[in-house]
């Protein structure tokens, strides 16, 4: 089971990393904004190709290395877990190094050839764009919370029935492998964590809704389609995730109350299905967003261009803009969102839930 999950995750990461340069906005190449006229420059296309091929080659070499090693050495369960955790990280690290290299190359090309210099820079918005925003309303995100409250109530009613050892961790075989002493708090600690996560999804959905819908002055329609698609599918994907974790946590909690509720096979299959649905969902999300408006980017825009925001993007990865009240902005490299690091509220929303969950874990 460990190996199967590893293989799925590993090839998923390889695929996603290879696809990123082709899924981002076409006017942003390796975190650098380029004018529409240059977005199909052969040198930039070559950079993208070389990036994807390097990621693929690294992934294969690493994988073959692991295979050979696995055959020769009789590995224990522990080293297997260590290796299967380390390999995806190694791959991500190589991708990042590769990104840094091509970010520098693209920046250099833009500077040397003075791309976008001497054009009138514009910032634009459409007063009616918000009426077309299709993000889900907050109360949908409140629905799974009712389930959590129900689960907590159910646990309290059946408190006597609970085992003396409350499971806190489940192994890859779907069976609990870590326990804690039973007390009123530890009995409901996992629904509490679930509740924290549900609140987090609701808050992220609302703050994303309040963040800016950024339109391009030259490719207004294409950028509008992309931004609205990104917002809509982010909202749907978060809702799906919220529903899935609610189901997973509820199953685990019910299993704690009634020990033989589900067969071992089901205990193995449920978390596996959870992982698979999430991975498939994120692929659908990335493809939908990547394709949105992709054919509508115009190549004209003589004399005018978008305001160059490169100054706010440190390394093309980290956005610092004190003037922008947005808490989340579209990522420059990757499909999704990143924080406006100049806005302290963003830190709260992202790190607050993690901290709370750690506190709950500590006191359990």
């Amino acid at each position: 089971m460990t190996v199967t999950i590893f293989l799925i995750l590993y090839f998923f990461i390889t695929l996603v990393e290879m696809a990123i340069p082709y899924l981002v906005k076409p006017t942003i190449v390796f975190g650098v904004s380029v004018p529409e006229k240059k977005m199909r420059d052969p040198r930039l296309l070559k950079f993208k190709r070389r990036y994807s091929l390097t990621v693929l080659a690294t992934s294969l070499v690493l994988f073959i290395g692991l295979l050979v090693w696995g055959i020769q050495v009789n590995s224990t369960e522990e080293t297997l877990i260590l290796i299967t955790t380390a390999a995806p990280f190694a791959l991500l690290f190589v991708s990042l190094a590769c990104y840094v290299y091509f970010h520098a190359k693209t920046t250099q090309l833009k500077r040397e050839e003075k791309w976008g210099e001497g054009v009138k820079q514009l910032q634009i918005t459409d007063l009616s764009v918000r009426s077309r925003d299709e993000m889900l309303p907050w109360y949908l995100f409140a629905l799974p919370m009712l389930v959590t409250l129900g689960i907590i109530a159910y646990t309290i009613v059946h408190y006597q029935q609970l085992p003396n050892q409350i499971p806190t961790h489940w192994g890859p075989n779907g069976q609990p492998d870590a326990f804690t002493e039973k007390n009123p708090f530890s009995a409901i600690s996992s629904p509490i964590m679930l509740f924290i996560m549900q609140v987090m999804f609701l808050v992220i959905n609302e703050t994303t809704k309040r963040s800016g819908i950024k339109l391009s002055a030259t490719s207004t329609e294409a950028s509008r389609v992309r931004q609205l698609t990104l917002r809509k599918y982010t909202s749907w994907f978060m809702f799906l995730t919220s529903i899935l974790i609610t189901m997973l946590f509820s199953f685990l909690q019910l299993m704690t109350v009634h020990e033989n509720l589900l067969s071992e096979v089901m205990m193995l299959l449920i978390p596996f299905a959870f992982l698979l649905i999430l991975l498939l969902g994120s692929i659908v999300f990335a493809v939908k967003v990547g394709k949105a408006g992709a054919d509508n980017w115009v190549q004209s825009g003589d004399g005018v261009g978008d305001f160059d925001e490169d100054q706010y993007w440190k390394g093309g990865l980290f956005y610092f803009n004190k003037n922008d009240p947005s808490i989340f902005v579209e990522k420059r490299f990757g499909v999704g969102w990143t924080l406006n690091f100049a806005n302290p509220i963003g830190y709260f929303i992202t790190f607050g839930p993690i901290l709370l969950i750690l506190i709950v874990t500590y006191f359990t």
């Binding site: 009138k120 820079q121 514009l122 910032q123 634009i124 918005t125 459409d126 007063l127 009616s128 764009v129 918000r130 309040r210 963040s211 800016g212 819908i213 950024k214 339109l215 002055a217 207004t220 305001f307 925001e309 803009n321 004190k322 003037n323 922008d324 009240p325 947005s326």
Partner: protein, 129 residues
């Protein structure tokens, strides 16, 4: 309605926003009773500071073009006839005087000015762009 600003222009950003909103109302893109986006949403979408948008809204309120209602935001006011001698009419007269004086100094003729006025009126009334 599209709002387009030029951050490197000599004209202050809040002024650019104010001018475009006024023009949008004159052209009929925005009607009385319509509400403008919240300051936060407008600033986030345009990528400017909230104070800038706030300043623009207050300027429009001072000029009697919008009304800022707590909770429901900025709403465009219904306009009746602008009475001679009212503060708003006086302000417009004053601003026109400055512009006309400059035009005369630069050598513009009365007919030219009248023609110019007619063209602008035509453009605002019939050209939806």
């Amino acid at each position: 309605m599209i709002i387009q600003i030029e951050p490197q222009s000599d004209v202050a950003i809040y002024k650019q926003i104010t001018n475009q909103l006024i023009e949008g109302i004159a052209r009929g893109h925005l009607r009385h009773g319509d509400s403008l986006p919240s300051v936060r949403a407008f600033a986030a979408d345009l990528g400017v500071n909230m104070h800038t948008v706030n300043k623009s809204y207050h300027e429009l309120e001072k000029r009697g073009i919008i009304k800022i209602v707590p909770k429901s935001g900025a709403v465009i006011e219904a306009q009746t006839k602008l009475l001679q001698g009212s503060p708003h009419a006086e302000r417009i007269q004053h601003e026109l005087k400055t512009v006309i004086a400059e035009a005369l100094v630069l050598g513009m003729k009365t007919e030219q000015l009248e023609q110019e006025l007619a063209m602008i009126m035509e453009d605002l009334k019939h050209n939806k762009q």
